[in-house]
């Protein structure tokens, strides 16, 4: 399927702030959703990882809100920051989730998100005409790059699991 998509149009600093905020808050929501799933499906290690990731993204979001000062990024984001087909760049892909997934998988998801966010802001850096927008975008690129590095570092602690990671000797259930 084509990965083209409608993306919010950035026509000023406030727009970028709003979009950046929205990206983080979408990511928070997504990580929390994944954490909920892991809670329901009895994978406590992953619950913790996703909650941590959500918390981290939440902190970024708050930073952006602080950056915006008195401007209400939250409602501005709701009005203009709608992403098309592939969704918000930093959202972890839901369909990659698995009840037996390991920290390595979670970090792969996170890495992909950070990389998409990095690419997204990098494109704004390239295309922006408004210097203030460009400057903020550069800052965001740097930050995302830092996140990418952080995830890479974390990944060293969690090597790729064996191919049998999803093996479940027990059969599925049929609750209805």
């Amino acid at each position: 399927m084509s990965k083209s998509s409608g993306q919010p149009k950035i026509s000023g600093l406030n727009d970028l702030l709003a979009v950046a905020y929205q990206i983080e808050s979408d990511a928070v929501e997504r990580y929390n959703l994944l954490a909920d799933q892991m809670e329901t499906h009895n994978n406590p290690e992953l619950v913790k990882i996703f909650r941590d990731l959500a918390r981290a993204e939440g902190i970024h979001g708050e930073e952006i809100r602080r950056l915006a000062g008195s401007f209400d990024v939250v409602s501005h984001a709701r009005e203009m920051a709608r992403f098309g087909r592939m969704g918000s760049p930093e959202e972890a892909e839901l369909d990659a989730a698995h009840y037996l997934m390991t920290p390595w998988h979670a970090l792969q998801l996170s890495l992909a998100g950070e990389e998409r966010a990095l690419a997204y802001f990098a494109r704004i850096v390239e295309t922006a005409t408004d210097p203030k927008v460009k400057a903020l975008a550069e800052e965001l690129v740097e930050e995302e790059a830092e996140h990418v590095n952080l995830v890479h570092r974390l990944l060293r602690r969690y090597p790729k699991p064996a191919d049998s990671w999803a093996d479940d000797p027990d059969p599925p259930a049929s609750p209805e």
């Binding site: 499906h41 009895n42 479940d168 000797p169 599925p172």
Partner: protein, 572 residues
Amino acid sequence: MAASPSISIAIVGSGGAGALTTVNFLLEVACAAGWHGLFTRTLGPQIRGGEAAGLLRLAVHPVECLPDQFDLIIGIDWLNAHRFGNEIKAGPQTLVISDPRGGEPPPMVTQSGARVVEVEMKEIAKSISGGRPNMIALGIASRLLGFTTEQVFALIAKQLGDKGTAAIEASRAGIKAGFEAAAGIGFEAELAKPVPSEARRWLLSGNEAAALGAIRGGVRFAAAYPITPATEILEWLSPNLTKVGGILLQAEDELAAINMIIGSSYGGTPALTATSGPGLSLMIEAIGLATAAEIPIVVIDVMRGGPSTGIPTKSEQTDLNIAIYGLHGDAPHLVLAPQSVSDSLFTTQWATFLAEALQTPAIVLSDQFMGQSRAAIERPADVAFIGARSVAANISGSYKRYALAPGGVSAMALPGMPGGQYTADGLTHTELGIPTSGAGDHLAQLDKRRDKLDRFNFGDHWASIEGSGDLAIITWGSLTGAAREAAARAAADGVNVRMIAPRLLAPVQPERLAAALEGVRRILVVEQTHGGQFHRYLRAHHDLPAPVRAFHRPGPLPITAGEIHRAIIDWS
């Protein structure tokens, strides 16, 4: 403590922990060593990754019910285990092995007074390449139960043969580590030595047993619409019917499934469908058609918690009413209930035989507990109940499909037979099958259909009747095992109890029940319903010769021998 004739183990662990597989391994090891056993699963609402527990009871004799309490409970982890509530009863005698990294044991354990021993199963597993905590649990349990590593390894080699040597090695290492971890743990319960026996033994579920029984009885066509907890019957039948020249068709819904089997049987091929409460509801209209048109069919209803969608994964006996009384009009038909995993084979086979012999629908009331439990049983004997309906031969002159034959059963022409052409009909009909609204024909055909059931000699299989006390337990279905055990315990207390469990629920056998109740002075009716359906049903059709107490409660928790025992003592 002296060796006990039975011992019970529960292993708890959430999705992926392999709790169920472990219990299954334990069962197989025990069976290979000559013990009997019964294995039930209990699961959370998730399809994958839910909390799970395997409940196992091993014994020197065949096992038909769960224990009152577990002797050994192993928590590989306790995530969401509180959802099992009272399903896994522990007591001060219980030994609990708990992985401290697997969360808090639930109240059912901590409040029971059970002795809890912590073993870091996950950590131990990590130290083994490819190690899994459930193999540690298997090792622990095996040692505590008195199995040898050789016994367990032999099974592993057989079961994991196709997983490669690395997997087998990892499992062996895990089991060994489990054995070591169990070394210092005292466990008082001890299972008595198996009783040597020459009997060939099987390990299977009630659903599988019922399916095999149907084939033995002659079924060669099945129509399937999946529903929990009956699906396994259909899934077992599908490849196995093919092996015996039969066919299974997946239907679009239960309305289609029931009509498909009527079509098959009309054509001469004995046919079956299996379902549960919601599906049975949808089949009601056509079961009435089969009754009126005198087409033999077998409908297995694996009961689950009701009403409506209810609790699909748990057992109850609450489809008794619909099975017996559910058809509109006066529509006598057969209702039978197996009494154990093993008896599921016999009763379903017999039901098939009876349906064919009496040209009428037979509803077989199994339940989730019996249907989905796996038990080690002695191979059921081959019995002579093989469906052979009365088929018309050498038809000459005008053929009367619904002739008023003496026993009520008239010979059936099958499509293809010259001269036998008739139209099967759900309308009130004459002996020729022609629609009529005449009072005489209506009455004659109603009499015919009633009499063929009432006058048939069902023989001794109609019920299990055991013991001779003046207190009689009347129960049915999968509660028979628990009632039998309760009676044995009461006998040990000096209270003689008679147990009567009808396998044939309809048509009623009033003389036979009266004879079975001769001399009885107290009656205890035991059933797993909220409304006391079985009790009401007994009252409706029998003059019970002594005061009655009705002990009944709904699911989802199985009624235990202990509960029945208490009810006996209270009523003695």
